[in-house]
Every structure is written in structure tokens, then in C-alpha cells.
Amino acid sequence: MAADIHTQLQPIDHCGRPPDSLHLLIAEIPDLQRTCSQFRQCVGQQWHLAADSKRHKLVRQLCRMDTAISKLTSDLTSRSKRLPTAHDILADLREIEEEFGEVRYDKRSKSLCTTTEPITLEGLEFGRFTICFNLSTIASNCDENPLNVIALDPNPCAADDAVVHPHVSAGHLCLGDATAPLRKATTEHRLADAFQIVAAVLRTYSADSPFCAIENWNGRPCDDCGFIANEDTSFYCEPCDKNFCEDCFSRCRDCGESMCLSCLSSCEICGDRICEDCQSLCDGCGEVACTGCLENELCPSCLEDRENEEIENDDEEIEQESTEDPSDKSQEPTSRVFTTDSTVTSVQSDRLVETSIHA
């Protein structure tokens, strides 16, 4: 097994990074030669300004090459220097076995796997996890993720079946602080270290940034905003048969019935939430309003409009009356015109005008 793994881990450079960066470095050389001869010419001709500009260009090119060289060197040496022998791999496998009780290598999938003890975080059981590293991905030294984490006794978060650990979703472990040391361990093929680093993440709960927080593990997602509310802060809305968080749930100001915000309307006048049963529509403009905000089935602005209209109508009628044939006036001087139903058909004096307005 150690020999197989050692063979599998031989660098294959799928990503071709060293040759690529070497290629880029070589491509810089003709440019460098050109700048160099231009610089020499400028100096020879005593073109000081031009010489200065070429010197700057030369420095920039050399800096670029310097970076490329150190990257290439570290890439090549860190890999040749540290790559373990078959004997080291065997020692690693023994260490993994001693730590986790087992280690398996699947030749077909090129995966090296082990299984953790049952993991409990903050009193919540998540069961055992199988940690698998794909060795051909490790050997290729790509940025591709070689790690896969599988829950053997899954206790998924209520909101998402794929989340089987606060930091594991769909086989992907979010490494957080372990990113750099794990990357270093896999690049250097330190397999036992890699498994121990992953186990340390699985054994830790970081409340700052979980896929699903432990306190909401058995909670329900709010149908409106998606927030996972725990049992105490999740509410059921009967009209729509869904669950909601505190923020997306309220009650009718009139009858007190609790419902989600979609099942409640807002009174367009006072803004209070009202259920369908308690809502009224303004007779004038059709706006949704609570009973408290309507007077004579009108919203305040329609009520005001109607009152103004009435006054205007009355004024118009008065005006009409007063501009009618003056001969009538002379023939029938006073009292005939006043009727009891508050409708003034003919008004003759100031006193009567006032009466009709207030009627």
C-alpha cells in the first residue's frame, strides 16, 4: 500500500505550473535584451533623459523576472526537497492508523481515507466522518480541492440536508484557519498531518461562520427570508401553512390573529397590520384600511374630499339661485323658498344662505 501510494503521489503537474512559469520567464528575455541595448545606446549618445527612462524600464523588467524566478525556485525545490520516500509514507500510514484506528486506500478512485470517532459539538451529535484525500489531485499540486468529507451517521441540519456538520456541506469542509497548514501539508505530502488537521477542524465548532449554527440545527427555515429560526422563534402561519421567523411574523391589530407578513395587509393610513377578515376598503379610493381609520367607510382624505365637494355643491347652488330672473324676486319677495329638507331651492336673504350652509 505504501509503495502504491508513493507511486501515485509522484508529481504529475496536471496544471503545468512550473513549465508555464518557466516559459513566461524565458519569454521575458528578448525584451530584456532589447531594453539593455537601447539603454547602452542612450548612454553612449549621452541622451540622459532617454537613458534614464530605459534604466527604469530595465529595473521593472528585472523585478518581474525576480518574482518569477523566486516563485519558480520555491515551486521546484519545495517539491523535490520535501517529497517523502515510500518509507516515510509507510510511517505516515502507521501514524494515521494509530490515531484513527484505520486507513484505507482505494486504488480505483485513488483515495486515501480514514474515519473519525463520533463527533459531538456543544452537546449535538454529528456521528462519524470519513475523511478522504484524492491522491492524484494532491500529486497534481493544482488548486483543486483533494479533500472530501462524508458523514457516516448523518444528522443534517433541518434547513439543508447537505449540511451534515456546521462546517461541512455536500462533502466540502470549509477549512477556515486550517486552509494554509493543510495546503502546506498536502503540497509536501505529509499525509498523517493532513488527516490530523482535518480532524481538528471537524472536532471544533466555530460559531462565527458555520453553514448552519448549532442553536438552529433543529430549527426551521423561515419561508420568507430563509433565516433558520429555532423552536422558540419559529412561528406557524395557518392561512398559508408555512413557518416563519420572528421578523416575518406579526398579528392583526384588530382581531389579534397571528400570521405571516404576506397573509397580513397593512392599513394604508396608519400602517398597522390587519388580516383579510378585518380589512376594509375605502368607499372612495379603494385603499385598504383598518376599521379605526375609516369614517363613514371613507379614509380621511376621501372624507375631506367629500366634505369639500359638498360645500362646493352648496355654494354653486346658492350662486345659481342668486343669479336667477330678478323679476321673480320682485313678484315674490320672501318666504316661499325655505323648505324643510335642507335643500334651498330659492334663497333671497343673507340669513337664509347661512341657514342652508349649516343645514
Binding site: R82, A91, R94, E95, P166, H167, S169, L173, C174, L175, G176, D177, A178, A180, P181, L182, R183, K184, A185, E188, R190, A192, D193, Q196, I197, A200, V201, L202, R203, T204, S206, D208, S209, P210, F211
Partner: protein, 74 residues
């Protein structure tokens, strides 16, 4: 005296380092992780669990791995 020193926290480190003769595991730990507590780390010398007063020898391979590392999401 040269030993192989590997730490699996922070940015990770694995290289040979020079230490004084007679350096114990806990002395090296205190030098490398001054504000850490040894009980929060898995410390192995030559792949075996090490005691704190174990004296390091030329060519030893010491690994220090935190027992808990904070993961994240996304």
C-alpha cells in the same frame, strides 16, 4: 543540533531548525508558541506521542498540531 520541526497551525511550517542541546519538548513549545497551552496541541516526536519533559535529540522529527482548528463556511 538540528531537528525537523513541523507545525500545523497558522501558515504551517516544516523545516530543519537549530536548537540547543538538552532542549525539552516543553521548552521548544514555549519558544515556538509562547501564548499557547501544550494541552491544546497534539505533540509527537518521531511520530509518537511525546511527554513534555522529553529531551530532543539530533535528527528528531517533532510535529505540533492543534487539537482544535476553527473552520468556516463558504
Amino acid at each position: 543540533m538540528r531537528i525537523m520541526y513541523i507545525n500545523n497551525f497558522g501558515g504551517g511550517f516544516a523545516d530543519h531548525i537549530e536548537i540547543e542541546e538538552g532542549t525539552t519538548v516543553s521548552k521548544l513549545f514555549a519558544q515556538k508558541i509562547p501564548d499557547g497551552r501544550p494541552e491544546d496541541y497534539l505533540i509527537r516526536v518521531n511520530r509518537l506521542p511525546a511527554s513534555r519533559d522529553q529531551i530532543l535529540k539530533e535528527g528528531d522529527r517533532i510535529t505540533i498540531t492543534p487539537t482544535k482548528i476553527e473552520g468556516a463556511a463558504a
